[in-house]
């Protein structure tokens, strides 16, 4: 190893979504020259698990893949199974599913605003955004009885209807959130201290965003107009469409701005749905055995395109369920984006793709010619914040 080249391992237990990841940054002085990633620390064998469970049981297993975007996983699965069975959920059910999708996006994006603000050393913003996020968590709980696994889907439709009282509660909540989101947009695009951590950091051109295979808000912040809700509408997105939000700057500021602006689209479309909720049954009847065949469903999770491939052999259990989450697509970009940046920017670049920091307070080791220094993730973040001051 050259005299001033260190390898900084970060993780495994920290920055990834439901997948805590292990990152190794090679640094030359302060500058990152290489980065590698190791995943799988919470690989639970869910794909394999689906093969031993019935179609209905899998709905509950699948929903537990993610504790943030649980509904979108269950929705992608339900859409695939319904396609195989030749059943489509009634219009009211599709609209209610879409409404849950957008409420989920709101809580996910607000969660991320808080996490990213914390990484930037902006704890007031972190606490405000998480306080406000409670509003949408309460709305989800009011609709379904649950904050995280709302479990609104059944194969063939939904379990919950929305009555007028719930409707009014949602509208009141949205009014408050919209006002707060305006404030967040102002902060992330105008606050000088915040912009020092985000403007011009982790820049990804449109070409790079495509080459690295990024999806969702990360890609859209680099001007890639891709959003499954618009490109291949599912649920009721053709009746209640959303606009694709993009930016051209491709830096962290753009990733912030895109996510915050997407919130306004979610508020708008939820109001649309509530004003025009179709009248119909809540669920169609599903057969117990699913005819043989293959189905692919693509949906737009808060973090980007979520892809399901489902194969049936005609029995009571699936032959194969393949899940490709958006984060696996976005992880690749972190390795590339940190190269050439200061080590101090690494936490923000990681936060920029919106991985889950549920286990972020972990040890970091800095190796210096065989001499290992122990850093915690917090140390690294503090180092990042101190460096920006």
């Amino acid at each position: 190893m050259e005299a001033n080249k260190f390898i900084v391992p970060i993780g495994p237990q920290h920055p990834a979504l439901k997948e805590p990841g292990h990152f190794e940054f090679t640094v030359d002085g302060e500058v990152v020259t290489d980065a590698t990633i190791r995943l799988g620390y919470v690989h639970r064998g869910v794909e394999r698990g689906t093969e031993d469970r019935t179609w209905v049981q899998n709905l509950y297993l699948i929903e537990r893949i993610c504790g943030i975007c649980s509904h979108i996983h269950a929705t992608a699965y339900a859409l695939g199974v319904e396609k195989l069975a030749g059943v489509s959920a009634p219009p009211r059910a599709q609209a209610i599913r879409e409404l849950f999708c957008e409420l989920e996006r709101i809580h996910s994006h607000l969660l991320w605003v808080g996490v990213a603000a914390h990484e930037a050393g902006f704890d007031a913003l972190f606490m405000y955004s998480w306080r406000d996020r409670e509003t949408v968590m309460d709305l989800l709980e009011g609709l379904s009885g649950n904050r995280v696994h709302y479990s609104c889907n059944v194969l063939g439709g939904v379990k919950f209807d929305i009555d007028d009282t719930q409707r009014d509660t949602i509208l009141r909540g949205l009014e408050f959130l919209e006002q707060r989101t305006q404030h967040y947009l102002d902060v992330v695009t105008n606050d000088a201290a915040f912009l020092r951590r985000t403007r011009g950091v982790g820049v990804m051109t449109r070409e790079q965003a495509i080459e690295y295979g990024t999806v969702g808000p990360v890609a859209r912040a680099s001007g890639v107009e891709r959003d499954v809700r618009v490109d291949a509408p599912y649920l009721a997105y053709d009746q209640f469409p959303v606009k694709t939000i993009t930016d051209t700057a491709g830096d962290l500021e753009a990733r912030f701005a895109v996510r915050v602006r997407e919130l306004f689209e979610s508020y708008r479309v939820i109001r649309e749905i509530l004003d025009n909720l179709p009248r119909s049954e809540l669920a169609a009847k599903m057969p117990r055995k699913i005819p043989p065949g293959e189905a692919i469903s693509r949906v737009e999770a808060p973090r980007g395109e979520l892809f399901y491939f489902i194969k049936s052999n005609g029995g009571e259990k699936p032959e194969r369920v393949k899940v490709r989450t958006p984060s696996i697509c976005n992880f690749g970009s972190v390795g590339r984006l940190t190269i050439g940046h200061q080590l101090a920017d690494a936490p923000m670049i990681l936060a920029g793709i919106d991985p889950c920091f549920s286990c972020n307070d972990r040890a970091v080791y800095i190796t210096r010619n065989g001499d290992t220094q122990r850093w915690s993730w917090d140390d690294l973040c503090r180092y990042g914040v101190a460096n920006a001051e």
Binding site: G213, F307, G332
Partner: protein
């Protein structure tokens, strides 16, 4: 919104030189069966034409009795979906890496390789991505004959 039929027609003619069999399972989906050595040229042709992006690679075990594995390369463009399908022998499954054309395929190939035991020739980081360091060699958890009991340790 782009028109799926026109997109699929374009993809079909791009892929014609390698297509052994072509199927349209639904209005927005085209499946093209190709020979394993053709995966790189076929992916390169789609990429060169700017047709979509590689969204996922799915591995399938067609069963011990068939002696076959299958890999599906899913490409998306707007509402249209193209699946390149290759069938590989179960005992010596080898396929070329498409990373020279699509660098973002790296994670997908590593997953395919450790879950199904498919050797992806020339993939830039062949080491494990998801399975633990102490996972036994030659055990592939998404193959149909995988027996989790084999992994149980005493105590």
């Amino acid at each position: 919104m782009k028109d799926a039929t026109a997109l699929l027609q374009a993809a079909e003619s791009i892929l014609a030189p390698w297509a052994k069999e072509t199927m349209r399972p639904d209005a927005a989906r085209l499946d093209v069966v190709i020979a394993p050595p053709d995966i790189v040229p076929a992916a390169r042709a789609l990429h060169a034409a700017g047709w979509g992006f590689l969204t996922a690679i799915t591995g399938l075990d067609l069963g011990v009795e068939t002696g076959k594995l299958e890999a599906l390369y899913h490409f998306c463009e707007g509402p249209a979906l193209v699946n390149l399908r290759v069938t590989l022998p179960r005992d010596t499954p080898v396929i070329d890496s498409v990373c020279s054309v699509i660098p973002a395929a790296s994670f997908f190939e590593r997953e395919l390789s450790e879950m199904f035991g498919i050797t992806v020739k020339g993939t830039p980081h062949p080491e494990r991505l998801f399975l633990p360091e102490d996972w036994p060699d030659g055990v592939y958890p998404l193959r149909k004959d995988f027996n989790p009991d084999r992994l149980r340790t005493e105590g």
